[in-house]
């Protein structure tokens, strides 16, 4: 691994985004627009306050998962990955490069969604801001890492996009948004316990709910970070210098 190569890779990915205004606009604006839509659909400050953090949790994950899985798939199919694998670039240089570049994008995305939610939409944030930002960012990283991992199993963009509902919807259904996790059937609760999104959602609820951030918040944060790291390591294992 090399710091210079990792940063060069992150810069290269940012440059690619810079040439693609529409993708940047979609990444930055869509979460905010959906949150605004939610505000008017709910038409109820209290219900909105309960749902907004969940969207702030889900969106960075969702968007980063999509762009990363498609981005790395393109890298695989266009031959640039093979070319890079013949250079001194390390696997983690590439993965962290993607993580850093899309992490920056996630920051911008979350910053805008938060600003709009807290000002215009009057989202009530009793605690401080940083735990919320921390959890949103970790989610973005988790999405990036899982996207990298899943792209290894897709042969085409069509397949890559299909991984999104597969990875996303079970995590949302089992994450305690619709039904509290404790009320689920035992087996489902077990499954819920091993899905990182469950912890992300709980951490996000704590972050927005104010009050003391106790050991449980930090445990959730560590679990999400650990899951992101694990996905990154698994993603690295799918990158091969030699291919058949």
């Amino acid at each position: 691994m090399s710091f210079a190569i990792t940063m060069a890779t992150a810069r290269r990915i940012m440059n690619q985004l810079r040439h693609d205004h529409r993708t940047v606009a979609l990444m930055v604006l869509v979460p905010t627009l959906v949150i605004i839509l939610l505000y008017y659909v709910m038409d109820d400050e209290r219900a909105f306050s309960a749902w907004a953090p969940i969207l702030l949790c889900v969106f960075p994950f969702l968007v980063m998962f999509l762009v990363t899985s498609i981005g790395t798939l393109r890298e695989r199919t266009s031959g640039t990955l093979e070319r890079l694998m013949a250079t001194p670039l390390g696997k983690f240089d590439l993965l962290l490069g993607y993580g850093i570049a899309f992490g920056v994008m996630a920051c911008v995305q979350v910053a805008l969604a938060l600003t709009v939610s807290l000002t215009w939409l009057g989202l009530d944030l009793t605690g401080s801001l940083w735990p919320l930002v921390l959890v949103a960012l970790l989610n973005a990283l988790l999405g990036t890492a899982l996207g990298l991992f899943c792209s290894a199993f897709a042969r085409s963009e069509f397949q890559a996009v299909q991984f999104m509902p597969l990875v996303m919807i079970p995590q949302l259904l089992l994450g305690g948004i619709l039904v509290p996790r404790a009320q689920m059937a035992t087996v489902l609760e077990w499954v819920s316990n091993v899905l990182p999104m469950s912890y992300a959602i709980e951490a996000m609820k704590d972050a927005v709910g104010g009050g003391e951030l106790g050991g449980e918040f930090w445990r959730d944060v560590v679990v999400v970070a650990g899951a992101a790291l694990l996905a990154l390591v698994l993603g690295a294992a799918t990158l091969r210098r030699r291919t058949p």
Partner: protein, 243 residues
Amino acid sequence: MMNLFGPAISVRDLRVSRGGVEVLHGLTFEVPRGQVTGLLGPSGCGKTTLMRAVVGVQVVAGGEVTVLGEPAGSPRLRRSIGYSTQNPAVYRDLTVRENLRYFAAVLGAPKNDAERVMEEVGLAEAGHQLGGTLSGGQLNRASLAVALLGDPELVVLDEPTVGLDPVLRQELWQLFRRLAGQGVTLLVSSHVMDEAARCDRLLVLRQGEILADGTPDGLREHTMTADLEEAFLRLVEERGAAA
């Protein structure tokens, strides 16, 4: 510099299978240093697979590939080999200059190397153009330029002149000759026989086996014809008669 003596590439009994079918059937040959070696043969004969094995990105089933004195694919070689694939492997959503600067950074080459290689492949005026807006020939040359970054000792080029007009082809071959003059070893594949005459050595491949290995003159002499295309046909007949 690693091992200054001995061949640039030495291959012994190389076997490669792709998709369950053996495509290289035990190749043995050497490529001398500081020369242009042409890898010739019809499409589908295993040229690309062989080049991938030399670069160290191909899973091989057996045999030994030694490059610049090290086993192919070893980390120390990654800075010493320039490799350009048949499909131009450059980012379509970056400019030519951004592409080259990125690969230069990955290879640890100086920053102005990007400008040098753009000049060398005749893309100096297209530096600001996005990869996606280049013509096929320009894209090819951008990909070739990446392989020249950072003064590699060995340059492996898979069909670098496909789709180029005769003037550009001429210029590129002059560039290859110049590089060889500076001591760089080049392995260049082509399926156009008239390019064979420009090489110092030829390696003719057919159906995963070596049909001929020698100088263009040697090949002409052996087959008793002045035309290399004709020489290839005679080699095929000869092999057929022997089988």
